[in-house]
């Protein structure tokens, strides 16, 4: 029993699917953001596993890309959570069902 690339890709696919379900289905805005971060993690895992298993002239460019993805996702999380706090101040809720000012 050896571990190949497809094992890691399967873990990444399952993580991505769970994150997608969280991002689409959760009622609380923080839960939605958790799903988005989980999808970032799944994609990063896929990057790292391709970088580990596939021969390439720039062997560590996958790692560098993951560093940038982590940077952008941290910035995204900070801004989005600030927005959540701001919406809470105005509307007293961060329930995505009840943030419906733009709905007809």
């Amino acid at each position: 029993m050896t571990i190949h690339l497809e094992h890691y890709l399967l873990v990444g696919a399952v993580l991505f699917a769970i994150g997608l379900y969280l991002a689409l289905g959760k009622r609380n805005f923080v839960g939605v953001l958790m799903g988005i971060e989980m999808m970032f993690n799944a994609v990063n895992l896929t990057f790292i596993s391709f970088s580990r298993f596939v021969e390439s002239p720039n062997p560590l460019s996958g790692h560098v890309f993951v560093v940038f993805v982590i940077t952008v996702s941290a910035a995204e999380a900070a801004t989005a959570l600030a927005l959540a706090v701001l919406v809470y101040r105005v509307r007293e809720t961060i329930d995505v069902d009840r943030i419906d000012l733009l709905k007809w």
Binding site: E6, H7, L9, G31, M34, N41, S51, V67, S73, A75
Partner: protein, 171 residues
């Protein structure tokens, strides 16, 4: 990757990661969901170590486990009357179907493709190579990322600043 230790570590870490991710979706309490999310992040960091990505694993622990999950906790604590419920919207069933379809498609592609070309030896230590790449070939994205972090930090501060505190009070 043939040695028994790596194989066992992979299966245990995968089970921890996926199980914790499922618990994030299943638990009813938002604080518990954040805790399970932290467990999932740690599991992914362990998977990075089995992929001989030591620098990325440490970065994952520092950024995700240390910073992002604390941000989530702060956001939950700062919105007290919004409730701690972690339940789903009325879109639960379509979301479940779509997630299952996407997961099945990705999994099918991962299994069906012939990955026989994808076998190479693991890396040694990666930090110095990543550092050289960041300051040599990828120096422009590196600088842009620093500006992005600055903008995000300033934006977050300005957004959540209480009215009238600092500045000219017109926010």
């Amino acid at each position: 990757m043939d040695d028994t230790g790596t194989v066992i570590a992979f299966w245990i870490l995968s089970a921890i990661t996926v199980g914790a991710a499922l618990m994030v979706a299943a638990t009813r309490n938002l604080i518990h969901a954040v805790v399970f999310l932290i467990v999932s992040f740690v599991g992914v960091a362990g998977l990075y170590i089995t992929l001989s990505a030591d620098f990325i694993a440490v970065t994952q622990v520092l950024i995700y486990v240390g910073a992002v999950s604390i941000l989530f906790l702060f956001a939950i604590v700062l919105t007290p009357r919004a409730g701690r419920q972690n339940d789903e919207t009325f879109l639960r069933l379509p979301a479940l179907v779509l997630a299952l379809l996407v997961g099945a498609t990705l999994g099918f592609v991962a299994i069906d493709t012939d990955w026989s070309i994808a076998k190479r030896a693991g890396f040694g230590e990666t930090a110095s190579v990543i550092g050289e790449a960041l300051l040599d070939k990828y120096v422009l994205p590196f600088e842009i990322a620093s500006v992005l972090l600055l903008v995000a930090m300033l934006g977050a501060i300005i957004l959540v600043r209480p009215e009238g505190v600092g500045g000219d009070g017109d926010s």
